[in-house]
């Protein structure tokens, strides 16, 4: 296939070289368009990945907990009667997941699930001397919980351990209580008081969380909350975070538990991300349309300018198909060359962004990279757009009446 489109290729390249100014302008136009699309795609991908990492870094992808207590009517009303009632909602006391010990291995066996961690959550106060702070108490198994939120990587001080009587607390809480690693604090929940030794301080990425978090062994939490042998929730980490919603729906169908995905727990974030994705897609679409129109208009002009040459080529034996392909190929060449330059330009822009835009700590705000697959697909789409843009001009060129074209 060495001579595949040999004639078309030669003529297309010559035509493009002949219309030097037009060709340069349109290639620059395509490059600019492709650069914008590639840069925006990389930026938004990086931004979203960063946001997700920050959000999902501190929480489970799916949480399983006991169903809420609801008021059950004493008697089913008859089918044709409307009952007007005013019901006081029930108090949601801490409740354990029934049978959680046998549920954990079932969840672990699911291929979509990467990690499972039972936990006991409750509220309480942390006290030291005269200071008393309200806290969110979490009882976990350290190894299991680490696989959900990578707790060990968030330790800022100390050696994370959760032996009996030990605990890990948030950095701000430690400041508020004036404790260092190794100090003791008291935990108070309702009637029970317990004390723990702080083994490590963690930074969960959100100050409010750091100010309230106390992580203790599962057993300690069970007794503090008053649920011996119980678990108020089971945290899941998934292989693919975006599968969370479907998995949650599936689980709540199969088990009598309340199952919540991170998307439901962060619905505002998810809709913001969606809005961002939609806007990006819109911008990309509009830029691509502009690129297509640009290529098309240049080729339309070129067909008019080259009527005579087209007529000669037709007279000496070029088929309509060959003339069509000459112009389609010009579109493809402009698209391919333009998008190659555009991708290079985008790489430069990204480099500039990571070099000059930095956070308050002097580190880059977040990593943005142009994935080769993304670059390739953008370049591919731009080339296809080039061919599409050439369709109308090429058909016009092919349909030219050679006798008339020569007479001009």
């Amino acid at each position: 296939m060495v001579n595949w489109l040999g004639f078309e290729r030669r003529v297309a390249i010559r035509f493009l070289r002949e219309g030097r100014m037009q060709t340069v302008l349109i290639i620059v136009g395509v490059a600019a368009g492709v650069a914008v699309v590639a840069y925006i795609s990389a930026l938004i991908t990086g931004l979203q990945r960063n946001t997700l990492e920050k959000t999902l870094g501190a929480q489970a992808h799916v949480t399983v907990s006991a169903r809420d207590d609801v008021v059950i009517p004493a008697r089913e009303p008859a089918a044709d009667t409307a009952v007007l009632v005013q019901t006081q909602p029930r108090v949601q006391r801490p409740r354990t997941i029934v049978n959680w010990q046998s549920l954990v291995p079932v969840l672990e066996a699911m291929p979509a699930v990467a990690a499972v961690s039972p936990m006991v959550a409750g509220a309480g106060l942390a006290q030291r001397g005269e200071a008393s702070k309200s806290i969110a108490l979490m009882g976990v198994d350290l190894d299991r919980y680490d696989r959900i939120v990578h707790l060990r990587s968030k330790v800022v001080q100390g050696e994370p351990r959760l032996g009996p009587g030990e605990g890990i607390i948030g950095r701000e809480l430690a400041d508020d209580l004036g404790v260092r690693v190794g100090d003791r604090i008291s935990l108070v929940t309702g009637t029970i008081t317990d004390s723990l030794r702080v083994t490590a301080l963690v930074d969960l990425g959100v100050r409010e969380l750091n100010r309230r978090t106390v992580i203790v062994p599962l057993r300690a939490a069970q007794s503090l909350v008053g649920l011996p042998g119980g678990a108020t929730g089971i945290d899941l980490a998934l292989v693919d975070v975006w599968a969370a919603k479907a998995l949650a729906a599936d689980l709540s169908q199969r088990f009598p538990y309340k199952v919540e995905s991170w998307q439901e727990a962060n619905s505002q974030l998810v809709s913001a991300l969606n809005a961002q994705s939609v806007s990006t897609a819109l911008i990309r679409g509009v830029v691509m349309v502009v690129v297509v129109l640009g290529i098309a208009s240049v080729l339309v002009v070129s067909v008019v300018q080259k009527q005579r040459e087209i007529g000669i080529l037709r007279a000496i034996g070029a088929t309509q198909g060959q003339m069509l392909r000459v112009f389609l190929l010009q579109g493809a060449i402009v698209g391919a060359v333009g998008s190659t330059l555009g991708v290079l330009l985008a790489v430069g822009l990204i480099k500039a962004f990571t070099t000059f835009v930095r956070g308050s700590d002097g580190l880059p705000l977040f990593a943005i990279t142009l994935a080769p697959s993304l670059a390739l697909s953008i370049a591919g789409i731009a080339t296809v757009c080039g061919v599409l843009a050439a369709v109308a001009p090429a058909r016009r060129a092919a349909a030219l009446d050679p006798a008339q074209a020569i007479r001009l």
Binding site: N3, I316, A318
Partner: protein, 234 residues
């Protein structure tokens, strides 16, 4: 014997079915055999160029029959006409009609490139020989814009003949040239005719040139007025 081309009762009308419909050719019949050197003359507006375009398969006839090597062409579609054009015809136009973006040599190799998607070294050699034969051995790499009118027309003749078609159609091939160049070009065509046994159909309004062709067909008002052998030998 099958004639190279044979036209019978050719009619050609423009703007068919419109109020300004005009018939340009009113039943033209003639034939050309292999190796003939024919002039087509006539006053301007007599339909010469139209007839040449019809013979060249660039325009369709309205009524009549046109056979090339015995095969009727009037039913062919565009692709069929193009393939016939490639196989049988070479063109030389009044205004040279070379492709300005291609060198003289590339212009001459275009027909081969168009047929096969590449130019073999044999075809390259053939094109060089052809250009040398028309006296442009030293100007092969020049663009048409760098050549004089006569030289451009010689390139066009080389291009028309490079694949040795049985028939070359020339529309006022010397119409744009001074007398010396036009003599040169004419002599060249006669020489090629003698060497390759190619038939020529030359549209001209130069009686001096017509007199040097073997046969002169005179077209007046869309009719053949006369069709005579001159006995000339160039």
């Amino acid at each position: 014997m099958t004639r190279l081309i044979e036209l019978v009762g050719i009619h050609k009308s423009y703007n068919l079915g419109l109020p300004n419909e005009a018939e340009v050719l009113h039943g033209v019949s003639f034939a050309i055999d292999r190796g003939e050197f024919v002039a087509l003359i006539g006053p301007s507006g007599s339909g010469k160029s139209t007839l040449l375009n019809i013979v060249g398969l660039l325009e369709r006839l309205t009524a009549g029959s046109y056979r090339i090597e015995g095969e009727e062409t009037s039913g062919l579609d565009d692709a069929g006409l193009t393939l016939r054009r490639r196989a049988v015809l070479g063109f030389v136009f009044q205004f040279h009609h070379l492709l300005p973006a291609f060198s003289a040599l590339e212009n001459v190799t275009l027909p081969a490139l168009m047929r096969e998607g590449r130019v073999t070294s044999a075809q390259q050699e053939r094109a060089r020989a052809m250009l040398a034969a028309v006296g442009l051995g030293n100007d092969m790499q020049k663009r048409p814009g760098e050549l004089s009118g006569g030289m451009q027309q010689r390139v066009a003749i080389a291009r028309a003949l490079v694949l040795e078609p049985p028939l070359v159609l020339a529309d006022e091939p010397t119409g744009n040239l001074d007398r010396a160049s036009s003599d040169e070009v004419f002599v060249l065509m006669r020489r090629m005719h003698a060497e390759l046994n190619t038939s020529f159909l030359i549209v001209t309004h130069d009686p001096r040139l017509a007199a040097r062709c073997d046969r002169v067909i005179e077209l007046v008002d869309g009719h053949i007025e006369s069709d005579t052998s001159t006995g000339a030998t160039g």
